[in-house]
């Protein structure tokens, strides 16, 4: 496992390091003002110096995004399953899914706060809204594309809907499901940050807006650093789980 990560990880790491070096030299060379784009060294410095100030924000956001992602993906999978198993529902509700992705946070925020207060609930709703959609769409497509032959076999063998679902459609849709999960994981951290705009008193999003409003660009970038790191972590974790879970088809791939 560790060796594996090393073997696969060095290339992206190299690219990142290269980018950081270019960024650093560019900001030195063109004398980009720190408040527009601070050089990586300043960001690094602030990351270390400010740790004790912001680490509770970090935990808050991690918690929020993990819970949000778990709920969001459960909802996403559940919705996909329901829509798949009940075609009438699917036709009727599909447009609502799209609508749900097009309600701007600016209008949703006051409504959510007015209805649910400042607690964690409205925040979770926002993350869920962000996360569930790609999962639902991808999983639905996965369900739809099962092999015709295997489906025929299942029918002939007298499988009921539940059996067809669990023995054929679900395992077949797993790769698509993970495709959706990975997209959603990438969004979940930003979703959490956005949800913190719904009145929060801690979290990376909160930290970032404060930093931005007091013109501390370096801190804004520290915040971004963590958002990005978290997303990469989530993504990596999911890819790992994917490799474990979708073992059979992974073998088929090699």
């Amino acid at each position: 496992m560790a060796r594996n990560v090393l073997r696969r990880g060095w290339r992206p790491a190299l690219v990142l390091i290269l980018l950081i070096i270019i960024w650093e030299t560019a900001s030195k060379l063109f004398e980009v003002p720190e408040w527009i784009l601070p050089p990586p060294t300043s960001i690094g410095q602030e990351t270390i110096i400010g740790w004790s100030d912001y680490n509770h924000h970090l935990w808050a956001t991690i918690q929020l995004s993990v819970i949000g992602f778990v709920i969001g993906s459960s909802v996403g999978i559940l919705v996909a399953i329901c829509l798949h198993l009940v075609p009438v529902l699917r036709e009727a509700i599909y447009p609502l899914l799209i609508i749900s992705q097009n309600i701007p946070i600016i209008i949703l925020a006051p409504l959510l706060v007015v209805w649910f207060g400042f607690g964690i609930l409205p925040k979770l709703i926002v993350i869920t809204l962000v996360c569930f959609f790609p999962i639902t769409i991808a999983t639905l497509d996965g369900f739809r594309q099962t092999s015709r032959e295997l489906h025929h076999y299942m029918l002939m063998a007298g499988a009921n809907k539940r059996q067809i679902f669990f023995k054929l459609e679900w395992p077949h849709a797993l790769p698509s499901l993970f495709s959706g999960l990975k997209i959603a994981a990438t969004y979940s951290v930003m979703g959490a940050v956005i949800s913190e705009w719904l009145g929060a008193s801690e979290g990376i999003g909160y930290y970032m807006t404060l930093a931005s409003s007091s013109f501390r660009t370096d801190r804004v970038f520290v915040a971004i650093l963590f958002i990005v790191t978290l997303s990469l972590l989530f993504f990596g974790l999911l890819s790992f789980v994917e490799r474990k879970v979708v073992k059979a088809s992974a073998q088929e791939d090699e």
């Binding site: 912001y54 925020a109 006051p110 929060a200 007091s214």
Partner: protein, 314 residues
């Protein structure tokens, strides 16, 4: 962890009344009085347990109006527009007596009076109000607003905007202007109040909703009593006040808070008899100006928009 324990103790020893305040956006020196009152225990003395919140995208006015928050930080133009739309919020104190906002530009652009706006590019957020304000100022100088190129710069901040394309923008001197001082960037200011009385409106103000006024006037009184003490401390002792704000919100930039606090200290009360007092004339002037400039659908009933009733009499 500490503050949590503190909270528990507080609610344990006496039943404090829970009250919430939403800020207009991120915490800044406009809000110092609130933080001082909270940290110094002034609210507690009045029997209140105050929770200060950032509204984020939710917007303070709607939250106050709907009763989700008891008090909020708002602006005169916001309350004016809101009341015209039948949103029941009322201003109960002016945080700063005079309008400290104005049009800022980097020194080298050489914009020192409204006349100089001609041929320049203004960066705003796209509200019709802006054009009306600029037009009003320029009329005083016999200049023509049509010669100003008005660009919507969205969320972009002043310093970024003037790096490119934009020549001048509308800022609060107490925050952005002070930041410019700290950065040693020389800027020219054209203050609204220097050119027309009508634009000397209150910004920001504290607000509550009509239900609160009807049903719980005592709480408003208690709240304002504590807040007044808070702002008075900020007036007398800006350094200590700044320290308190920084303690409460360590993610703010300390230098900026200190400098800004110093600059604002004598602007809170200024020439008024007491902190927070509002004049009918100011409300009338501004809403009339807005109505005349087609910024309101109907005239405002100014008397109902604000009240001095709950300010402590000193």
């Amino acid at each position: 962890n500490d503050s949590e324990q503190g909270k528990e103790e507080k609610s344990a020893d006496k039943a404090l009344k829970e009250v919430s305040v939403v800020l207009d956006w991120t915490p800044n020196t406009n809000h110092t009085g609130l933080y001082v009152a909270k940290e110094k225990g002034y609210f507690e003395e009045q029997g209140l347990d105050v929770d200060i919140k950032m509204p984020g995208e939710a917007g303070a006015d709607q939250l106050v109006a709907s009763g989700k928050a008891d008090f909020g930080v708002s602006y005169q133009e916001g309350i004016t527009e809101a009341r015209v739309q039948d949103i029941p919020i009322v201003s109960i104190a002016a945080v700063i007596q005079h309008n400290t906002s104005g049009f800022a530009s980097p020194k080298e652009k050489d914009i020192t009076e409204p006349k100089d706006f001609e041929g320049k590019t203004y960066g705003g957020w796209g509200a019709p109000l802006e054009k009306a304000v600029i037009s009003s100022l320029m009329k005083q100088d016999d200049a023509n607003v049509e010669k100003v190129d008005i660009v919507n710069m969205g969320d972009t901040d002043f310093f970024t905007a003037v790096e490119r394309d934009i020549d001048f923008a509308w800022i609060f001197y107490g925050w952005t202007g002070v930041e410019a001082e700290l950065r040693n960037e020389e800027i020219n200011m054209v203050y609204l109040t220097d050119y027309t009385e009508k634009l000397d409106y209150y910004t920001p103000v504290l607000a509550t909703n009509e239900t609160m006024i009807e049903e719980d006037p005592d709480t408003i009184k208690q709240f304002l009593a504590a807040v007044t003490k808070g702002y008075e401390l900020a007036i007398e002792n800006p350094d200590e006040a700044a320290e308190i704000l920084i303690q409460a919100e360590p993610d703010l930039d300390a230098d900026l808070v200190k400098a800004s606090q110093k600059w604002l200290a004598d602007k809170y009360q200024d020439d008024a008899a007491r902190w927070g007092e509002q004049k009918l004339e100011v409300w009338k002037n501004y809403s009339t100006w807005m109505y005349d400039n087609d910024l309101l659908d109907k005239p405002l009933d100014s008397e109902k928009a604000f009240t001095n009733e709950f300010l402590p009499n000193n």
